[in-house]
Point group: C2
Chain length 144, copies 2
């Protein structure tokens, strides 16, 4: 088993980072078009592909305001992995965000591709959304 693991510092408060991970419009502004948001047990649909034809469903499994967001993929390419966990900590420059998508059976080409994509979404899209006001969500992400 292997994990995708990232960590970035964002010049924004933990409240702003948490909002970007839970608010429908904000999620759509840095990752992919989201439909619905909600409480633990809700399922959020995200749309990928040039025309949003690939639907991914994430069940919200844990929410701790301004500290933690957890998802489990219940529809889409990551159903065989374990949790997606975002952990937010206060940092002298704003917030430190750690991310893990654990439980990959092997570090295959798709694992590597997804790891590179998350690197883009965190270091560019989410960071720019929160620091400069605009992200670069799918399908405007690099075609790697």
């Amino acid at each position: 088993m292997t994990d995708i693991l990232h960590r970035i510092v964002i010049e924004a408060s933990p409240e702003k980072v948490y909002d970007a991970l839970t608010n429908q419009a904000q999620l759509s502004a840095w990752w992919a078009r989201a439909e619905t948001e909600g409480k633990v047990g809700s399922i959020v649909s995200f749309f990928f592909g040039p025309n949003g034809e690939h639907q991914v469903e994430m069940e919200i499994t844990d929410l701790v305001p301004n500290e933690r967001v957890c998802w489990k993929c219940v529809g889409g390419p990551w159903v065989d992995t374990d949790a997606f966990q975002f952990t937010i900590q206060a940092d002298e420059r704003g917030s430190a965000l750690q991310f893990s998508n654990s439980g990959w059976a092997e570090a295959n080409e798709f694992f590597m591709h997804c790891n590179s994509k998350w690197g883009f979404f965190f270091t560019v899209s989410l960071k720019n959304l929160l620091e400069k006001g605009s992200g670069q969500p799918h399908p405007n992400d690099p075609n790697i």
Copy 2:
């Protein structure tokens, strides 16, 4: 032991990708200012920090033109990790580049930080250098 692993497709020939990984001016145009280039056994110095005050030394341990580049960090923060390996394969859109920096003792915060940084350098800086003509090398990379 754990590894940093990335994979991206670049719309450029394997020859162009190999050049970006071995030519002094090209390395300086997507990763960090490089001094010297060379053959197996040579040491390439890279400069990090706002004013280039942190020197990293990479020994070139393997070169297969248009296919593979391997380094070993012999000075700097990655001396305790194993090889840095770039593998290039022809892809219908140009080239597929796989990267590994293996042999990290643990997936600590610095591991996660470096993984996120490599995500940026590959998906944005190297890809844009080869596809659009300009990269975003250190110190102009995101301050994560």
